[in-house]
Each structure stands twice: as structure tokens, then as C-alpha cells.
Symmetry: C2
Subunit: 778 residues, 2 copies
């Protein structure tokens, strides 16, 4: 039995109870919405900091998005109640909060909208949610169809709880002139300096209806009454009381009565979202709230989505992988690069890695990101913890904890960018930084960042870790200024090696950086090679950790991946590391980040923050770490292992895999629960979070690793690493304006282009606009 | 039909649906719990900042306690489900979340515990919640009684949701050795400086059971399943699955199966609360979790409550008032003085006014409070915005907004303290402040505070308002340094007059302060008397506000009250003010603070923060302001009006009054919704918040105003101002160790003590330990 239909243009879940957290997400440059199959929603818009327009019933604290924590009866949602006026029977579409059994159910996520089809006895409800490009608002279309044999007399109620808008003041009522419910609140400011900032906030929320409702209710408590959300008093009544909310949590609920003959249908359109004032509401209504307006918004949104060009289109032996790589993965990559995860202070490492994904879908965005990041470089060459997206943006949350790794990501980004675009001119572009107001070429700035890494070392030549580096949940290993990071030392070696290569390709002297890279690799082999893998670091108190002697936190994935990339590990070491990872870290759901997961603080090793201790992130299959391992396996031609793990990351094509993980295959989440050997029963579940640097590295691994279609100064290199189980594959690769239609088959290795056999592995002298027919035999 | 039974030792609500927010509160020095009749709970404990042990399902932001905002399906609660194993029928006691209809219901709040009696067909559930004195934990006793004719086969399930304990890590399971469910979490720290602070936090929560359960469930999502909280899958099943929560929101749910014959009963005892480690849990269990342990805790708690001595016991023509004044009001006063509202940085004005209440119930607390406050006086004589209760406590929320009124409350406090105790020696006590490390006598410090007020004036001689002063929701009237406060100028005059009197009574020269008081009164009469009332202030831009010309914010209550006290208003002005207030500000629920309520920001007047704009606090019947008006009316012998308003504040003895306000009469709330002339339908409802300076001034108004039993240097002055409707009254007054049994009757004015007629109104030469029989004719 199949619960999920998955293809490149849609993913359908046909049972609301199977995956309670199954969700799709939509975004535009102003907002995003995470919408579950059952009707719960988490939506944010930017003004300029992320804000909510439909809130929880209590004041919510801000934290990173963590949808894994699930929903609850009063979670914000978009509910459409339908009551049979003759029998009194009640259900809500899509499913929450009534949770009435359905005869048929389809939750359909497409790249451009989210749809539902809900079949109840004799009645079908079709729902579509779409976003426009230019505004932060939701466009809802709901069609009720009498699919039974007898005429039906029904009441229909869209009901969108607005939650606690403000503890200071909140209100809502129906505004006939605007044609909908308008809720208002006062931002709870208290300090004078905030007042002037807050004056421009959108404190209103509206639910506009194309049709005039029969009645309305805006008081959440009266709406529910004793019946509760699952059987609201206001809906069980003959007619809503036209209640006006004054200083109480509001809801936007409307009532429409319909008589539908057999086969008859009626369509409603609603607009829901934040607004600054009545004039803006009026504009939103005029722009969108009609059949024609919805259609125009749809066309514009499709155009916006197609601006994220795809680098690759594949036909392999794995149709699930084909759909994911051809449509969903580049969509996720595009989302990251285009929205910066709806953050105003993206972590520098995320900002650069998300931009690395843009290299393949929107290279002009990638270039801008590099220049923006460098404009905030410190005078000493190091990169800041976060990039401020507007004047006055503050470094928040984790960006207030100093991390030492931000400078290593520049060269990693640049390698991808230059290979794809050959835009070496960017290295001569002048960038002025805010700290010193000095204009320097990009080349000098990247060198300065790498020089900073070179000098930030202890007596062993290993990089200080200070309060933390990337991804491993420790912030107290080196806070006294002595502790060092094995992973960071290897990442520095990798960065230096890449930067040396880039300089050489640009006709400059890169030897200094190549030599420095070697020094870091040597220091690691001297001090942190533990016999079968690399240790993670050495604490302020001179204790090595991530080594065999440890009972918890014995082996860390990141040092191994970066040792494969940096050239630190020779063939023997490579073999030992891969074997140790297979033995200790692989799970049915991928490779764990740390094994065994820490269950308590080790005071001698450094205290672990953020994700410590437990079964989730600390020992999780943290996909951003896992994808580096996969990428690094392709670097050393471990293609079978690489593909096996890549396939695990995407979950299988079979429904049981999704059931176990509780998610739809429309995006790769930031982690699956791990600590598999400690808590097998809790491992495997998805975090449901689509914000992750995994996407860009996964796309890069598929393009440059699995299919081996990597750019270079000379042109396009072709060196596929298909798994043995694939007899062949076809790929279309878009590269520097040209199109390459590539057939990969098994046989005597060889490469021909447009019928002509090539000696090397590169197609050179590429002509933009041209289509190349390429035959590869492997 | 009466829904509420109210007396001095209990208040009973007999229908769970009538007042959905009806609640009692219990506290000890470590914690407080606000418990609704229906089973929802809000509880905090100190470690040392206020913390929760049962949380919401999502991360909650901190704000002031605002229980008016109500509850929702997943609000934290203490639920006891009962399932009939034969019929499958389900209910939950007290009422949430199943909300099954009851045959009988009693929610009983007493000064020392909270009880329920829930009658379902053939089954009675009796529940008692008590707190110990020395620990932050809840003691629950639940008795199931077969009240029907046939034997019953039931399952019983205490189910306490624990909510989102930490986004970092949380878990829960049953621990057989400890005899209960223990949940654990990791405090989401990130910064090194927080780590060392957070190490001592109580991150565990336990639900211990005296009996060993049959089964348990600790996973909130599995507990609910598709049935939801109102029909949980785990409870509809034959037996709970012994589920262990790992990184998911936990619940503490236990199952016990019982067969009860006709008339048979079974009693369970549970302990619920936070803990540091297993050793602490073991200690809590050993100390409390038995019939004897519960009984010992009950005795100790009764002793703790009786340490709050009552100053007065009355027998009037108003039994409701008698109960409230004799038991509930001093309980609320005691709560404030003993816990500082569970805050670690009480606002200085609240700290001193709450201590003013302690003058009548625990004078040694009042004295300590004064010395503590003065130890944080600034070098320039002014008082800080909040008092730090421990080293490292931070000024938070509103205490970060500078207010100019904190220095006026010292003399107001001192008048009450000295009148009650005659402890003039306190004025010679040396206090060292943290800022200058100088030891100064209290007398000099109070003078310095008043001198600071004298000099903080503009060219008119009115006090600057800066970013705000007491209680009126404005923080931008004078932020540019020019705007002045009419209320504060009158409060300063009152403070100076009181201080002058205190100095004179102490044999010192107070003339300087009396003259300064007169200057402030004169300045007010010159610049802010508006014809029928005093204006509220003058903005930075020289605009008077709170005057007749204003459409909103036309009249403010506080300036009028303080003009009555300060002596600014002559008899003609007094009459005009009282008439204007009666005409514009009185409502069926009391006197509003501002009329008409602001509905939008007036940029020329100053921007109103905290409570602006709207129907709640801004135009509310803000009881703390209303009680000052009542107190001031007694000062000028407007006793009929004073009593009329005092009675309104306490709500009537009739159930409809409570229905309208939605609360039980066990405490006076900080406000009732106002803006009565703008939104009559929304006015009158209680805020449900028991933290309010109203309590201490209300107690003082009853003691010194209504019953006219005020202390002085000479002894006890006796000048009752009973309402005309009372033919007589009896009072017992405890004063300086003596007891006064006072009979007040109507007739030719006179006073006799122990049969001896007195010439004046004062009983002098009081002998501690003695009981005086006093006859007063008025």
C-alpha cells in the first residue's frame, strides 16, 4: 500500500493520520509558510526582522525553527469547518481540529502551491494555498462540491486563529468596507528607542473574503465555548454572533450558508496576511482577491520560481532520485540563496554555503553574497559570526557566541563559484569594509582571511577553537584560549589548498598557501591521528577528545571528511577512517555526527552547548555533516559508499521509510534523530526543518560527484562516478550558457562530443547557446 | 440561585462552567500556584529567578502575569482522568480537558488549600491541593468514592503535561526506585557566562506516587494520539504503553486500576514539582509522600499562614465585607510582603507599598524592606527603578525604563509604619548604600530623597516626568527633558508634608519640607488647575494634557486623589473634583484611571506605553489608582462616597456581580476592564491578577479610614467613618501588642474605654498584652 505519490511536480500524501507532521513549504521574498497536511501552519514574514501574523494562544519565545517539536490543539492553523445544517454533522478540512474520519484525502505539495482534496460522505472539499511574489499574504481557494446523490444544506466556516497578538492591546472585527476581518494590536514596546523602530511594523492582520459572509466571530474564547476547537459553540449554533474582540485573543472566523444540488459546486477565495493600514489592505484586495487576481499571482509566482535555473536534469535507474534532483533539490537550494532563511543576520558560514548552492541555480546571487560578506570582514582578516542584512540588524542567538571557523568558508565557496562561472574577474573587484573603510580587491581579502587562519594556532600548529567552531556542539573546549580544534585545522588546510590552487589558476603565486596547508596537515598527523581516525581536538587542559579512549564522543565525523578533502589522510588512513565510520557511525538513516552521543557534560573535555546532551542533534544524523562525508568520498573516488549514503539521506522510495522518518520527500531536513546504538527506538525521525546547508552540498555532490560534471578553467570536466547498480544514465547539464546532453553507458572508458572522440576528460571552448551531444562510456 | 459560597475560611464555586477563569492561589516562600476551578494551573518557583516546572507545549516568552488572557486546550494543567472499564465512559476531574457534564461540583478555595468535589453518576472524586512551607512542590490527595448502587471497575489516571521543557533536550520516564515519573531537560544556555549560573538550576520535574502504578506514559504525543487531550488514545487503551519520552514534549501520566464496591473509597497521594537531582527527589518523597507527611506539611503551613497576624477583625452590617477583611484581604497583603510577588527586582514603588501592607500583618518585614530599599539609594538621593533582591539580579522589563516617582513612596510608607509601630528609632538606623559605600542614618536618606524631588523641577516648579511616573501609561511625555507631571508634583507635595510632620513628631525641624510642599501645591494651582480638576501634566512641547480641551485622556484620577491628600485643593476645588469624577469616571465596577481611554497615540501629548491604547488598563478601573482615591476621600471625610466606591471594588455579595467580572472574591485584582462609556459590553471583567499594590492600601483604608483606627505618637486614635446605612459595628483591633474590642454605635458622639469616658479621640499609654473594651458613639 502506497501512502505517498512522489514526482518532480508534486508529492501527494493520501492519509492525514499517517505522517502527522508531513508538511510542505512555500515562500516568496517576503515570507514563508510551513503548512502541515492536517491544517497547522507556521508562517513568518520580514519587517525587517522575522514576524508572525497568526500567533500561538500564548506569547511565544523566539528560537530557531524546530518543527520536530510538533503541534498541539491550539497550534496556529488554517481551518475550514463544514457543518451539515440538516444532520448537524461537523468536519473540518483539511483535518484539524475536528479530526473527523475521511473517505478520501490528498495532500499535494507542488513546487508552486499546496493543495488538499478531502472527501467526506457526499461532499468534497478542494483547497489550494498559493503565495504571490510581491507581498506577504496567503491566497486561499476553497471549492465545495456536492459529490453525493442528494441536495445538501451546509454552512461553511473558514476559521483562522490569530492567537495572542499583543499582551498590551489587541482587537478584531469585521470591516464591511474592506470585506473581511481586520485584527489590530499594539506592539508591546516600552523603550523610547524602540518606539521609532516599531512605528513601521505591520500590526494588523486581515482575512478578506471575495464573497460577503452571512456572519462572523472574532472572539477566540466565544468561538470555542465549551465545545472547544474540535466542536466550537459558535459553529454548532445556527448563526455566528458577529462578535467583536476587544482586548482578548482574536480569531478570524466567517460563516457562509450554501445549498448545493447534486454535482453542484461553489468556490471561495480568501486573502490572509499582515498589513500596515487599511490602505494596504485595500490594495491587497484590489490586486489579488478575484479569480483573475489569483490567476495573475499564479503566473507571476511560476515566473519567480523558474528564475532559479536548474543546472542538471537526470534520467537514472532511480526515478525517485530523478524527481528529487530535477525539481525539489534545486527548489530548496534556490530558497536558501534567495531568502537567507528569512534571517537578518545569517551565520557567515551558512550565508556562504547557501550562496554556494546559488552558484548552480542563480550565479548572480552567489557573486553578490560574496561581496556582501567581504564588506563585513574584520580589520584583522577574520570573518564575523554573522552577516548583517540591513543597517541596524543585530547579531542574535548563536551569533553572539564567538566561533573561529567563519573564515574557512570563503575558499570553499569560491572554488565552486569559479569552477562554475570562470568569473576570475571577481578577484579584482574592490570591496570596502565597514570597519576600516578601506577598498581592497577580493583577492587580497581572501588572502587576509586565510592568513588569519594561518596565525590563529597554538604551539603545535593547530587552530584555536575558542568558544566553538562549526557544527559540533561544544562551546567550552577552548574558552580559556588554549584549546584547539582538529576539525578546524583540517578545514583550514583544505581552505589553504583551494586558495593556493585558485591563485595558481589565476596566474598568481599560491605556493605560500600550499605550504601552509601542508603544515596544518602535518600537525594533524603528528598530534591528532588516533590510529584509525582523527581526533576532534585538544582542550584547554590539554586533553585530547574524539579519540578511542573516550566512552562518549569517541569519534566525530567532520574531522574525517575534511581529512579526505585536505589531503591529510594517505590511502591507508583513508581506508581505516572509512572502516571506522562504517563500523561505528553508520545507521539505517545515514551517518551520525558524533558517536556515541554525549549523555552528560564532560567537564574535562569542554562543555557542549546548543545540542548537548542527548539523542537528537548531538548524536544525530546531521545531514550537513553527512553530506560533507559523502562529498569527500566522491573526492577520493569512494563512489559506491558515497552513493549508498547519499541514497540513505534522501530516504527510500518506499513508504515505510517515510513513515519511520515522518516526512515527505520534498526537501532534505537538517537532521534525522540519531544515537541509533543508544536509542534505536528514537532514531531516524526527521527534524522537519528545511533550513540546512545540506541542500547546496548535496546538489554539488550530485552534479560534480555522482555525475562528475565539474567546471574548470578549461571547460567542463566529465568523470561520472555512477554506482555499479546503474547500467547507464542520461543527464542534461546547463553550464556557462551551453547545454550538454550526456549519455553515460558502461563499456571501454571513452568520451565523445557531437560524434568526435576526446582524448582528455574536458570539453573545452564552450560556446554559449549551443547544445552538445555527449557520449560517455565508463 | 447561588453559584458561589463565600466566607472567611472558604470560597466555593459550584459550577465549573460559570466562571471559566475562577481560580485560587496558594504560595509558600519558594513558589506560587494559580489554579483554576477547571484544572488549569500556572505555577512558578524561584531559583532564584522565577521558573516553571510544568510548561506550555511551546516555548513561552516571559511577561508580566496576565491571567486574563485565559487558557486554551494545551494550557498546563493537573488532570485526573477516570475511565469506567466496563462502559468505556470517560471524564476528567476537576473538569478539563474532557469537559464531561457533572452532577455536582464544588471548587473550594481556603486560605491554606484548594479542594474540589466532583460528582459523576455513581462516582465522586475529592481532590485537595496543598503546599508545604519549605519546598517548591505540590501535594495532591485524590479520593475516589463509589457513590452509586453497583460495584465499579475503573481506571484512574493522573496526567500532568510537562510541556516544552527545553528545545535543546528533554526526556522522561518512570523511575521505580524513586516511585514516580522523572522528567529531565537541559537548560538552553549558550554563553559561557551563563553556564556557571545555570549549573545550579533545577532541571528535573517529578510526579511521585504513594502507590505503585499499573502503567505509565511519558510521551505527550503518544498519550494524546488522534483522540486528543479530551479523549486520549493512551487512556482509551486497555493499558498504557509504559512509553519513554526522548527529545519530545513529556507528560507525567500514570494508570491505576480499581474495583470499588458500593460506598468503597480509595485515596491516592502525589507529589509534583521541580528538583535538582535524584537525592532531592528522594528527600521530598521521604518528607512528604505519606498520610503522615501530608498531615505534617498541613500543620506547618497553617503555622506559616498564621504568622501573618491580622490587625483587625470586624463585625459589620455587611457579612461579605467581614469575611473579606477578616481573612482574605490580610492573606493577600501577607502574600505581597512575604514574596515580593516572586520577583527578584521588584519595582521600588511596589516594594515599598507592599511593605506598607506588612506594617499591619508583619511589621518586622516592613522594617527590613525599608532598610533594603535604602541600601540601594543612588548617590544623588533618588531611588532606583527596582530593588535587586540578590547579587546579580538584573533590572528587567519595565524597570529598564526610567521613572521619576520612586522617591515619593518612602515617606508614604514611613507614615504608616511609624503610626503603627511608633518605631522612630528606625530613623537613626545606619544604612550603607552600594554606590557610595557610605553609612547614613535613615533620616538623612529620606531627607535626601525628598531633596532630590525638590530640585527635579522645571521653571514652573513642577516635577519633571522624564520617561514616566507611576501608573499612567505614558513614557514619552517628557523624554526630551522638559515635560512635567502634575500627579508627581502633587505626590511630591504629599511626601514633603508627611516628611515634615514625621520630623516634627520626632522633635526635629520639618519647616523646610512643609514650605517646599506648599510651593508644589501652589505651582499646581497656578499652572494645572483646569477649572474642575487638575491636569495630568505638560509635555516637552508645552502642551497641557488631562484637561477639558482633550477629547481622549481628558481627566486622570491620580492627580485628583493626591491633591486631596497633599492639601492642594481647597473645599471648593474638592467639591468640583469629586463631582467631575462622579460624572465622568465612575462605573458600575469602580472608578476609571483615565477617561475617556486613549484609542490612539497622541504624538503631541506623549506616547503611551505598556497599557496603551485600549479598553483594558489604559481606561480601566485600575484598583491601585481607585484605592488611592478612596483613601483620599476618607482623608477629607467624604465617607459615604468612599464606602460606595470601596464596596464596588470588592464586587457585590451577589453572584451576578461575579459572573460579570468572572472571578471569585478571594482577592482584589489589579484591575477590572474599563472604558465603560466607550465599550460597555467589554467593561467590568477582572484581570484575575492578584499581584497589586491595591491590597495594602485597601487594608489601610479599611483600618484607618472606614473604621478610623489609626496609630499616632500618642496612641490609637479612634474616628470611625461608617456609612450611614450601618447602624453599628464591632471591631477587634490589634495594636502595639494590645487588643481593642470596639463597639461602634450611633448617638451623641463620645468615646469611652473600659467604662471611662475620654475627652479626645486617642487612647494613650497603651499596655501591651492588655485588652481594652472601647465604646464609640458616632
Amino acid at each position: 500500500m502506497s501512502f505517498i505519490d512522489f514526482s518532480a511536480d508534486r508529492c501527494i500524501l493520501n492519509n492525514p493520520t499517517i505522517l502527522p507532521l508531513a508538511a510542505g513549504f512555500l515562500w516568496n521574498p517576503h515570507m514563508m509558510i510551513h503548512m502541515t497536511a492536517r491544517g497547522f501552519a507556521t508562517a513568518q514574514f520580514m519587517q525587517p526582522e522575522p514576524a508572525k501574523y497568526a500567533r500561538a494562544q500564548i506569547m511565544e519565545a523566539k528560537h530557531f525553527m524546530l518543527p520536530e517539536q510538533g503541534t498541539y490543539a491550539h497550534h496556529p492553523g488554517r481551518f475550514f469547518y463544514v457543518k451539515d445544517r440538516e444532520t448537524g454533522s461537523l468536519f473540518s478540512a483539511p483535518y484539524e481540529p475536528v479530526r473527523a474520519p475521511v473517505e478520501g484525502f490528498a495532500f499535494e505539495v507542488t513546487p508552486t502551491d499546496i493543495r488538499w482534496r478531502v472527501d467526506r460522505p457526499g461532499l468534497r472539499v478542494e483547497i489550494t494555498l498559493a503565495l504571490p511574489v510581491d507581498d506577504a499574504c496567503e491566497l486561499w481557494e476553497v471549492t465545495l462540491i456536492n459529490s453525493g446523490a442528494r441536495p445538501r444544506n451546509i454552512s461553511f466556516y473558514p476559521a483562522f486563529p490569530l492567537g495572542l497578538m499583543s499582551w498590551m492591546n489587541q482587537s478584531a472585527t469585521y470591516d464591511a468596507a474592506l470585506g473581511g476581518i481586520v485584527a489590530n494590536c499594539v506592539t508591546p514596546y516600552q523603550k523610547i528607542e524602540d518606539y521609532f523602530k516599531n512605528q513601521s511594523l505591520k500590526d494588523k492582520v486581515c482575512l478578506l473574503s471575495e464573497q460577503t459572509p452571512l456572519a462572523f466571530e472574532t472572539r477566540q474564547a466565544r468561538f470555542e465555548g465549551e465545545g472547544g476547537l474540535h466542536k466550537p459553540d459558535a459553529i454548532m449554533a445556527e448563526q455566528m454572533a458577529d462578535g467583536v474582540a476587544l482586548y482578548e485573543n482574536p480569531i478570524a472566523a466567517l460563516q457562509f450558508d450554501h445549498e448545493l444540488n447534486k454535482g453542484e459546486r461553489v468556490t471561495h477565495r480568501f486573502l490572509f496576511g499582515p498589513a500596515f493600514d487599511d490602505a494596504e489592505i485595500m490594495r491587497l484586495k484590489a490586486t489579488y482577491l478575484s479569480e483573475a487576481g489569483f490567476a495573475r499571482a499564479r503566473v507571476a509566482y511560476a515566473a519567480y520560481m523558474s528564475a532559479g535555473v536548474k543546472s542538471i536534469n537526470i534520467e537514472s535507474s532511480d526515478p525517485h532520485l530523478d524527481s528529487f534532483v530535477n525539481a525539489w533539490l534545486p527548489r530548496q537550494v534556490y530558497y536558501h540563496g534567495d531568502t537567507n532563511r528569512l534571517s537578518t543576520d545569517p551565520q557567515t558560514r551558512n550565508f556562504l554555503q547557501d550562496a554556494m548552492g546559488s552558484v548552480y541555480v542563480k550565479p548572480e546571487t552567489a557573486r553578490k553574497t560574496l561581496l556582501k560578506a567581504l564588506s563585513q570582514q574584520h580589520a584583522n582578516g577574520s570573518m564575523p559570526d554573522g552577516i548583517r542584512m540591513y543597517d541596524g540588524a543585530e547579531l542574535k542567538y548563536i551569533n553572539q557566541v564567538p566561533h573561529t571557523d567563519h573564515s574557512v568558508w570563503l575558499a570553499l565557496f569560491l572554488e565552486a563559484y569559479l569552477d562554475e562561472t570562470d568569473d576570475y574577474a571577481v578577484l579584482d573587484t574592490l570591496v570596502t569594509d565597514g570597519e576600516t573603510q578601506t577598498a581592497l580587491p577580493v583577492r587580497e581579502r581572501i588572502s587576509a582571511a586565510n592568513q588569519w587562519l594561518i596565525q590563529a594556532v597554538d604551539h603545535r600548529g593547530l587552530n584555536f577553537i575558542d568558544q566553538g567552531d562549526w557544527n559540533d556542539p561544544m562551546n567550552m573546549v577552548g574558552w580559556k584560549g588554549k584549546g584547539v580544534s582538529g576539525w578546524l585545522s583540517l578545514a583550514t588546510a583544505h581552505s589553504l589548498r583551494l586558495w593556493s590552487q585558485i591563485l595558481e589558476r589565476d596566474g598568481k603565486d599560491g605556493a605560500e598557501y600550499a605550504e601552509a596547508a601542508q603544515r596544518f596537515n602535518n600537525a594533524m598527523n603528528t598530534h591528532l591521528w588516533d590510529g584509525d581516525w582523527y581526533g576532534r581536538g585538544i582542550t584547554d587542559d590539554d586533553v585530547k577528545f574524539g579519540v578511542k579512549a573516550d566512552i562518549e564522543g569517541r569519534i566525530f565525523l567532520n574531522p574525517q571528511s575534511f581529512a579526505l578533502m585536505s589531503g591529510a589522510a594517505d590511502a591507508d588512513k583513508q581506508k581505516r577512517m572509512v572502516a571506522a565510520i562504517e563500523d561505528q557511525m553508520e545507521t539505517p538513516y545515514g551517518v551520525e555526527m558524533i558517536t556515541p552521543a554525549y549523555t552528560h557534560m564532560r567537564e574535562d573535555v569542554g562543555r557542549l552547548t546548543q545540542k548537548f546532551p542527548g539523542v537528537a542533534e548531538n548524536g544525530s544524523v546531521y545531514n550537513h555533516a553527512a553530506i560533507f562525508y559523502i562529498y569527500s568520498l566522491y573526492q577520493v573516488n569512494e563512489s559506491e559508499k558515497a552513493f549508498e549514503l547519499l541514497r540513505k539521506m534522501l530516504t527510500g522510495p518506499n513508504d515505510e521509510d517515510y513513515l519511520r522518518r515522518g516526512q515527505l520527500p520534498v526537501f532534505v531536513p537538517n537532521y534525522y534523530r540519531g544515537a541509533h546504538r543508544q536509542h534505536p527506538e528514537a532514531s531516524g525521525r526527521s527534524s522537519h526543518l528545511f533550513n540546512t546547508g545540506t541542500a547546496s552540498w548535496l546538489y554539488r555532490s550530485v552534479i560534480e560527484g555522482l555525475f562528475g560534471l565539474k567546471g574548470s578553467r578549461e571547460g567542463l570536466r566529465i568523470a561520472p562516478q555512477l554506482p555499479a547498480s546503474w547500467p547507464s544514465a542520461r543527464v542534461t547539464r546547463h553550464f556557462r550558457g551551453a547545454t550538454f546532453e550526456i549519455d553515460i553507458t558502461r563499456g571501454k572508458p571513452g568520451l565523445s562530443v557531437d560524434g568526435q572522440v576526446l582524448a582528455g576528460d574536458a570539453i573545452t571552448d564552450i560556446v554559449a547557446g549551443k547544445t552538445y551531444k555527449v557520449l560517455v562510456t565508463i
